[in-house]
């Protein structure tokens, strides 16, 4: 009886860990839906700004 009491929470916590995401994984894409921009334009513009920022920081 005692072992059953301790076994259940262990399984629960193991299962809960399976339901957790890898927080340190890659950044998620934006959801799809209403937008006024094209994804490729956003990617290009942010890449340009980050590149310019790096250049300014280095100079």
């Amino acid at each position: 009886m005692r072992s059953q009491r301790t076994e259940k929470p262990t399984k629960q916590s193991d299962l809960e860990r399976l339901y957790m995401p890898d927080f340190s994984g890659p950044i998620q894409p934006a959801p799809t839906g209403c937008r006024n921009t094209k994804p490729e334009d956003v990617k290009r513009v942010i890449a340009e700004i980050l590149r310019e920022r790096t250049v300014v920081a280095q100079s």
Partner: protein
Amino acid sequence: MSSGLSPRFCANAPSLPNPDQAPALPDQTEEYRRGIFINCPFDDAYKPIRDALIFTAFACGLKPRCALEYDNSVQTRLDKIVDLIGACRWGIHDLSRVRPVKRADPPHFNMPFELGLFFGAHRFGDEQQKFKSCLVLVHDTKKFQQACSNLNGQDPVAHASDPKAAVEAVRNWLQGELRRTGLDKTQKPLRTGDAIFADYRAFRDKLPDACRRLGGIENKLTFVDYCDLVSNWLA
């Protein structure tokens, strides 16, 4: 793979004591594990907090979902919200502005209602829904406890309309979830609240420039546009 888990996730997952005796895993997609339902006001005055919450969710590896992300006139608004709640393991519920916008108006009850739906999914939902976790944000914890005593014991966090406090609240909640499940020992730690907020400020400084380069869309920026800008900034 019968469980529907991605190979990457399985590689990082702890092994169960005995897979044959473990409860059957429901159809758990990475989309659900990373989904975070943002339940907050949509008015312009609240925007600094909402934008900070979305940025922090992405910075912590999650994917914000919100009723603003799509329109479908075939679907009722409530159905859309129920679908989104069902699709997200996580939730941020900001009840800081459950008050009339004008003195004569009734208070807005959408946010507490959606929090109730989230609790209901957690309490009465299937196996997948039982692992939900949420953060309740308020303006002032003492006043909130007087207004909604049913939530006493849920430890809402006050941000006092300060975006930095909101960032720290979300980051600390997620770090606490990592610690609670023991994954803080195996996963890379989340960046500090200060570091995320500094990055958010840098992003905000460049946002007008980004909008200008995208054709002057600052006033037409949708939820999805904003999410796309944030995710590309952080990638």
